[in-house]
């Protein structure tokens, strides 16, 4: 009896001693975990801070409010009043006439030219569009909110160093004085930049928007999902549930894993060779982009779907088969519903990766400068990541903040997709 008690005591002591070590290890591990988390969060915050700080001003733009007399003699110089006249009319001079009323101090031609350059070249299109929509405006005086040139915008956002020599900047001292003058007259306002969300690309930063790229990316992702999800899921189901495990399926598995790791640019080359050169699909169209991204996403979704199928307990298959369900009934009634959340999450993660890819899209010509918003999948289109690439490469300072704005749009897009993934997972999750 005595012996047993002493032995018990010893064991307790031994455990106590090892307990200390174990607790120590646990503390260390927690510290490692927390510090790596902190590092990750710091990186993330720095990343967001830098993007938001350069990009937030992109959501504001500066406009000038002008009363423009739509002189019918200027608009219809030949007196013919045709539609064609409206396309070739000299709206610039109308704007300038109005501007001159506010700036009587303009003396020579040079000064007048500089004054004209305060406004964006897009200002006259704005008037033109309005008149084409409503011809009765001709002959009246209408108040317009017109975009300013990006250099003025930059100046007003505080990016221009007025102390530096005039030659080193694009806005002259004279223009700055004019702008200050107009501000005093309360003609220049800062507004929310709707242009950013409703227009496509442009050579002029103040006229450029991300809608074209957003629509293009959305079309491509839709195509990617429609093509790669059903194909990859059926392939995964076949490989996991039906195919006999042999040398061929092993070979296939190795190849699929390899494909998932192939650099994306190679898919771009493949797409160029097959879809564009061989099948003659149009260049830089969302259909081609979507097909290329499908190829790229395909192996990723197969791998995710197979993992999801593998995680379905075999006892469920046995239960169904044991009742006399056929192989396909077992798979469709029991296995796939249980694997579906994993499949969906996997494919959305794959698509999120596809959304951010620019290299393969560049290979199929999606770097083209496309102003129009695509209305069908065969029209030339931009894509968000490529838009980021293009704008970050542009010399105008106005594009720097646009780049960040495009990145933010990309991040929001990703965030939405990942939230969708979580929502779908919870919706289809079967409670045990």
């Amino acid at each position: 009896m005595n012996n047993i008690n002493r032995a018990d005591l010893n064991v307790t002591k031994l455990i106590e001693r090892s307990l200390e070590k174990r607790n120590q290890k646990e503390r260390y591990f927690r510290i490692y975990g927390i510090s790596s988390l902190v590092i990750a969060v710091v990186f993330l915050l720095t990343f967001f801070a830098s993007i938001i700080s350069t990009g937030y001003q992109a959501f504001i733009k500066t406009d000038i409010e002008l009363e423009v007399f739509l002189d019918s003699e200027v608009i219809y110089p030949n007196g013919t009043k045709t539609e064609e006249d409206l396309f070739f009319a000299d709206y610039d001079s109308l704007i300038f006439t109005s501007l001159k009323e506010h700036l009587p101090e303009l003396k020579n031609r040079k000064e007048r030219r500089q004054a004209r350059l305060i406004l964006s070249s897009g200002a006259s299109y704005k008037i033109q569009n309005k008149i084409i929509k409503d011809k009765s405006l001709v002959g009246q005086t209408v108040s317009f909110i017109l975009p300013l040139d990006d250099e003025v915008d930059m100046y007003l956002k505080g990016y221009v160093d007025t102390e530096s020599s005039e030659n080193s900047r694009k806005i002259t001292d004279f223009q700055i004085a004019l702008v200050e003058n107009l501000i005093e007259k309360d003609l220049i306002h800062r507004n929310f930049n709707t242009t950013l969300f409703v227009s496509g690309d442009s050579r002029e930063p103040e006229l450029a928007g991300i809608l074209g790229a957003l629509v293009g990316s959305f079309m491509m992702l839709t195509i990617t999902f429609i093509i790669s999800f059903p194909l990859a899921v059926s392939a995964a189901i076949y490989l996991e549930e039906f195919a006999k495990k042999n040398i061929w399926t092993d070979f296939l598995e190795v190849n699929i894993n390899n494909l998932a790791a192939v650099p994306s640019i190679i898919y771009g080359l493949l797409g160029l060779a097959i879809f564009i050169n061989f099948f003659g699909f149009p260049r830089s169209a969302p259909i081609v982009g979507g097909l290329v991204l499908s190829l790229m996403t395909f192996p990723v979704v197969i791998i995710a779907s197979r993992a999801a199928l593998k995680s379905v307990p075999p006892s469920i298959r046995d239960a169904a088969l044991g009742l006399g369900a056929s192989k396909i009934q077992t798979t469709l009634h029991h296995v796939v519903p249980l694997a579906l959340p994993g499949m969906l999450t996997g494919s959305i993660v794959g698509m999120a990766r596809a959304l951010g890819e620019s290299a393969p899209l560049i290979m199929i010509g999606m770097v083209a400068f496309v102003v129009d918003i695509p209305t069908s999948i065969t029209e030339p289109s931009a894509a968000l990541p490529v838009q980021v690439f293009l704008w970050s490469d542009a010399p105008e300072r106005g594009f720097a903040e646009k780049t960040s704005a495009a990145i933010m749009a990309l991040l929001v897009f990703l965030l939405l997709m990942n939230s969708l993934a979580i929502w779908l997972r919870n919706k289809f999750q079967i409670k045990w």
């Binding site: 495990k245 046995d318 239960a319 044991g322 009742l323 006399g324 009634h333 409670k431």
Partner: protein
Amino acid sequence: MEEELDSNFKTVGNIRTEKSVIMNVEDCNVYYGDVHALKNVNMEIGKSEVLALIGPSGCGKSTFIRCLNRLNDTIDIARVTGKISLDGKDIYSDYINTSGNMDVVLLRARVGMVFQKPNPFPKSIFENVAYGPKIHGLCKDKNDLNNLVESCLVKVGLWDEVKDRLEDSGTSLSGGQQQRLCIARAIAVQPEVILMDEPCSALDPIATERIEDLISELKQNYALVVVTHSMQQASRISQRAAYFHMGNLVEVDSSNKIFNDPSHPLTTNYISGRIG
């Protein structure tokens, strides 16, 4: 006692049943890759009787009953040879070319199975029981199906416990309830043979007793093959018993004989508790 038996060892006792034969196993061998898991098994399974399979862990009991409904087909490396017939029709006829074949789906509908670990579908209790009849088209309408589900749940003594929560998930039940649900699910297809692989191993004595009662009741209409590790249970519920040892069917006879006066020394040792 761990040494293997001679390769031309012959089962002792009586491999024939006194009842009318429903399944007949001839020269059945199972290989898992290179592992010879079941060796030359010959045995009859009779209608309206409970056949208990006993033997130490790893001796091939599960392997044997999984041959009877071809569930070994799902294991890629498993290979089954020999002839097993249900009502005189070869169930492995895709393997061996003989006249009179049977589709594996039909086979499994006629030979139901209950597993060692309760494995209800993660669907509603109702759906669990209704699934089999639905896929086989056994009920002509919704009403018919409702009645069938109810009668099956009544048979396994689960009806009173679940009648108000038929829409709850089958997995929300307790272990014993889940096992009874699985039995209800199996009998809903109205099989002729029910295979049970250690149906009580996860259950408490009360649930075990209920299942034993259920087995005795089911015996009236079905042929049952029950794997069990409990000698007492085997002697309580079975009319015949078969003792397996390292892949060999050592002895099969009436339960009375096996548990009171076994012929083979291996069986004697096992029964008296010296192995297993």
